[in-house]
């Protein structure tokens, strides 16, 4: 059941209505039923994996909590905790590895062996990637780690914990919530709050706008070009690559936005997953703004435990590379994703190495670091590097990605530009709609960038403060744009596959 499906439009109001109708005591149970039903709509048998991950991490939390309170010697407690957390990680990562990476690993081994002239026929496992597995396993593991680090108490109520792992708004594509945030909130079932519901619904509408009006339209052009990269040149490839940057941003952010909106309707606050990533002034800054829930997860549970930047420069760079390698691999079992991750790691290292020189250059040239033009230049340069990395992320193979980069340098034949542009899958009307949608997104982003960090700077909130006529004219325009995008492609959310 996709957020952009008719089924969800029926499911969600029923889930919300009954949630508020039921007495507080059973609201969480109802949400748990809804969450499991939501997941089972995709494939009922894979609920077993969700339950398994939930049970393992729940028990590991209880064991660590028990060890802590058992009065045993500190060393023994640490030992128990270490073993428990290791067991939880092995079981969860084992599940993830089997369902997501086993065939990739086998194929890679076969290829490596073949390089050495050893012919190996690796078995092919008949597995389907369960939707959202990377998200809920990371969420469950974050709980294990938080209990391990004594940052939270273990959750005693199994059903509440199961709801934390399976909370339907963010179950299949994040944000990857932390127990410190969501689990705490679940202790007190949400109350009906008019402002929350209104704001949540408007946020959801904004999410649908991003997905259907912008992302799905970009997808048509991007798919046309990227599925036949050798057939296109110059500006066509550049346009497709820029639109892919827009597509993946709007696609992924839309899911998070709908999730945040849906949770808010129920009375819960989910973490922000994107904060104007294409306004980043460096790659480091980009990762503070892009998929915040994953990058902070990797920072807290991988980069810092590896030593972070505390063990010298070489070790720091090594840790960065490992973190980004894992980030790439998390996104998918393919070398294109790994390459994308590694490329971002290299970007960060180069940025770090060059930083003293760039600082010195600024000092010598007496350019004010707060100069607006410099700020814009930084944004543009960062975007170019990010977009080059996206080429590897989107291309069907690394070879295709290099073809895109090489052929992007061809200059356009201006005489045929008008004909060629419409041959990319989007007609004039749809291109116009995409441009309007992008403009709205840009205005919204500028408002957010120039305002404070409160919800007041959100475009939807700004609209809700206008007078009746303007407000409804804008709501209806938005609704009509969504309606006119409904049969564009009906694409799944990109991050579902991760």
């Amino acid at each position: 059941m996709l957020f952009n499906s008719t089924e969800f439009l029926l499911f969600f109001p029923i889930a919300v209505l009954l949630y508020f109708v039921f007495p507080k005591k059973i609201r969480n149970y109802w949400l748990l039923i809804c969450s499991y039903f939501y997941y089972m709509c995709w494939n009922p048998k894979y609920i077993v994996l969700l339950v398994a991950s939930t049970v393992v991490t729940y028990l590991s939390g209880l064991v660590m909590e028990w060890a802590k309170n058992s009065g045993k010697a500190e060393a023994q407690i640490v030992k128990i905790k270490n073993w428990t957390v290791a067991a939880s990680f092995v079981l969860n990562i084992g599940l993830l590895f089997y369902f997501k990476y086993i065939n990739f690993a086998m194929d890679t081994i076969t290829r490596i062996m073949a390089k050495f002239g050893i012919a190996v026929t690796a078995p092919v496992f008949d597995v389907v990637l369960p939707v959202g597995i990377s998200f809920y396993i990371f969420q469950a593991l974050s709980y294990t780690m938080d209990v391990y680090r004594d940052e939270i108490y273990a959750e005693k109520n199994f059903f509440r914990y199961a709801l934390f792992v399976s909370f339907f708004p963010q179950l299949v594509a994040g944000p990857i919530e932390r127990s410190k945030n969501l689990l705490k909130q679940l202790a007190t079932p949400g109350e009906f709050n008019y402002d929350n519901v209104r704001s949540g619904l408007l946020t959801m509408m904004w999410g649908y706008f991003l997905k259907m009006v912008i992302a799905d339209r970009c997808a048509i052009l991007v798919d046309t070009v990227y599925n036949n990269v050798s057939g296109y040149f110059g500006y066509q490839l550049v346009l497709a690559s820029v639109l892919f940057a827009l597509q993946i941003y709007c696609d992924f952010m839309s899911y998070s936005t709908i999730a945040i909106g849906a949770a808010r309707v129920l009375g819960y606050d989910l973490m922000e997953n994107f904060h104007l990533p294409y306004f980043a002034t460096s790659i480091k800054d980009f990762w503070r703004r892009w998929h915040i829930s994953l990058s902070s997860w990797l920072r807290d549970y991988l980069y810092i435990p590896l030593g972070g930047n505390r063990k010298g420069r070489i070790r720091k760079y090594f840790n960065i590379m490992v973190t980004f390698f894992v980030s790439g691999l998390w996104h998918g079992a393919a070398f294109t994703y790994i390459f994308w991750g590694v490329l971002h790691g290299i970007y960060q290292i180069i940025e770090d190495v060059l930083k003293p020189f760039t600082d010195k250059l600024l000092e010598k040239t007496k350019i004010n670091p707060d100069n607006k033009l410099l700020y814009v230049c930084k944004i543009v340069v960062t975007f170019i590097f990010v977009d080059i990395a996206w080429v590897f992320f989107r291309a069907n193979s690394i070879g295709d990605a290099f073809t895109v980069l090489k052929n992007s340098l061809y200059t356009a034949n201006l005489a045929t530009i008008k004909v060629d542009l419409w041959a990319l899958g989007l007609d004039m009307r749809n291109m116009g709609m995409l441009m309007v949608g992008t403009l709205v997104l840009f205005i919204s982003s500028v408002m957010r960038a120039n305002g404070d960090q409160s919800n007041k700077t959100l475009l939807v909130e700004w609209i809700s403060r206008r007078n009746f006529i303007i407000r409804y004219a804008l709501y209806w325009s938005c609704m009509l744009m969504i309606i006119f995008s409904m049969d564009i492609t009906g694409q799944e959310f990109i991050y579902f596959q991760f």
Binding site: T6, E191, F192, Y194, V197, R198, L201, M205, R429, Y472, Y475, W476, M479, L480, I483, F484, S485, M486, D487, I488, G490
Partner: protein, 479 residues
């Protein structure tokens, strides 16, 4: 927060949600009531047929035609009779044909005769117009269920995967409730209002032609070799619906005429094809008393076709006249009964005609008047060479004062020049006044003949044409 304020807030919220989402629920209402405003031009014929079958008609149609696009283009109701309507649907097979008939009979009195014609490829293949028919709401939910069960029983369920990723029922419901996922593309494309204008005109044209909408052209087919018809096969699914058509007709006492349409001369029947066809229909119809099969074995020259299967206007005209001869009892009311509506359809055919010979065939024995403005003095040449029309002569009407042109007229049914048409000559034009409408005929561009065709029944000018005279080639085709 008290219960009362929660209740008030909930009510407020529901009201606001309803208001904000007004376009979402307003969309199906718009779609249900304005199909011509957004549907693609390909749908117009099917929409007209659907409207006719799903509503009670004030006029009684004694003869129906069901079939595919080859049938739609071949049968000319205006030639056959005033009580004939062509309900053949492009891309359809007996599956659709059955429901066209069922819908019609659910709302209207049963006709006396039905002609059924399908091209071989629509019988051999299990596909039918699922998308188009659901788009225009031809099939009810129950009918869709029947189709699904029939597919399950007689065919492969992959045929039911006419739908995208969803199951059959979900997809049917999307059509049934005008889901934006199905209709929003069309509405978006029609936002400038041009579709409404062109669809309304096209709908009116189908209305005038009593259901005929396919291949209305005089383009000529250029064959690339012998087609070679070697085998004839009817799939179990299509045969099931063939039998349902026959059973329904038997129940309603309707005579069924299964007609295999003429093909072009490049068809080439080889092996046992002809035997297979006749054997199949003999076996199919043996249990039905009032059903027959007729095969127009005669092949037509390729100039009577617009492509390998579809007749053009000339072919359809020829076929319909031959059908009249083949089934005189069915069309006994045809001759000399030209209603105004029927005349409009003939007008439409004439308006698209480029050959004088064909044009005059269409006006033969019908209340038409042709006024010729001859600036060559060679009208008789033009007339006899290009028309070969010997039954009635053109008659003298008038001459311009300076003898720069002469006026003649020809009456389709041999009647005198109609009283209600006034003709006034002047230096460079002739004013033809019918009622309050005045049309000016100017001499042809160069030596030649300008003429206009007048529909006496509808009191309107159908078209004005000219034929220019060339020293070497004589009179050229009309344009």
């Amino acid at each position: 927060m008290g219960f009362r304020s929660t209740l008030i807030n909930t009510g407020k919220l529901i009201l606001k949600c309803t208001l904000v989402t007004a376009p979402l629920w307003g969309f199906p209402i718009f779609c249900a009531n304005n199909i011509l405003a957004y549907a693609g031009s390909d749908y117009v014929g099917a929409i007209w047929i659907n409207d006719l079958t799903q509503t009670k008609q004030s006029k009684y149609y004694s003869t129906l035609v069901i079939g595919d696009s080859t049938a739609n283009s071949a049968y000319l109701p205006e030639v056959l009779s005033d009580d004939t309507v062509n309900l053949a649907l492009a891309g359809s097979s007996p599956v659709d044909g059955y429901y066209t008939l069922e819908n019609y009979l659910n709302n209207n009195k049963a006709p006396k005769d039905i002609f059924v014609s399908y091209m071989d490829y629509h019988l051999d293949d299990d596909s039918f117009t699922w998308n188009v028919s659901n788009y225009i709401h031809k099939f009810t939910l129950e009918q869709n269920e029947e189709i699904y069960k029939a597919i399950e029983k007689y065919s492969d369920l992959s045929v039911a995967a006419l739908t995208t990723d969803n199951d059959y029922e979900t997809e049917v419901k999307k059509y049934l409730y005008y889901s934006p996922q199905i209709y929003s593309y069309s509405v978006f494309q029609a936002i400038d209002g041009k579709r409404y204008k062109s669809n309304t005109a096209a709908y009116e044209d189908v209305n005038i032609r009593l259901g005929r909408y396919c291949q209305i052209t005089n383009n000529q087919y250029e064959p690339e070799g012998i087609m070679g018809y070697s085998t004839f096969n009817v799939s179990p699914l299509q045969e099931y619906y063939y039998k349902r058509i026959l059973n329904l007709c038997e129940k309603k006492h309707i005579a069924v005429h299964m007609v295999k349409l003429p093909l072009s001369t490049d068809a080439g029947f080889i092996d046992d094809y002809e035997t297979e066809v006749t054997d199949y229909y003999d076996e199919l119809l043996e249990d039905y008393d009032d059903a027959d099969f007729y095969w127009f074995h005669t092949t037509y020259e390729h100039e009577f076709f617009s492509d390998a299967y579809h007749m053009n206007n000339h072919g359809s005209f020829r076929f319909s006249r031959e059908l009249l001869e083949q089934y005189p009892d069915v069309f006994e009311d045809s001759v000399d009964d030209y209603s105004r509506a029927r005349m409009l359809a003939i007008d439409a055919d004439i308006a698209g005609e480029n050959y004088m010979g064909e044009l005059t065939k269409r006006i033969d024995n019908k209340p038409f008047t042709l006024i010729f403005l001859d600036s060559t003095g060679n009208l008789s040449d033009f007339y006899y060479m290009s028309v070969g029309y010997n039954d009635k002569d053109v008659q003298w009407l008038d001459v311009e004062d300076n003898n720069s042109y002469a006026l003649w007229f020809l009456s389709g049914d041999g009647a005198a020049f109609p009283d209600n048409i006034q003709v006034t000559t002047s230096d460079n034009s002739v004013a033809v006044t019918i009622g309050e409408e005045v049309t000016y005929l100017t001499p042809a561009d160069g030596p030649g003949i300008r003429f206009c065709v007048i529909d006496n029944k509808n009191k309107s000018i159908v078209c004005t044409r000219q034929s220019v005279w060339d020293v070497e080639k004589g009179f050229r085709d009309i344009y």
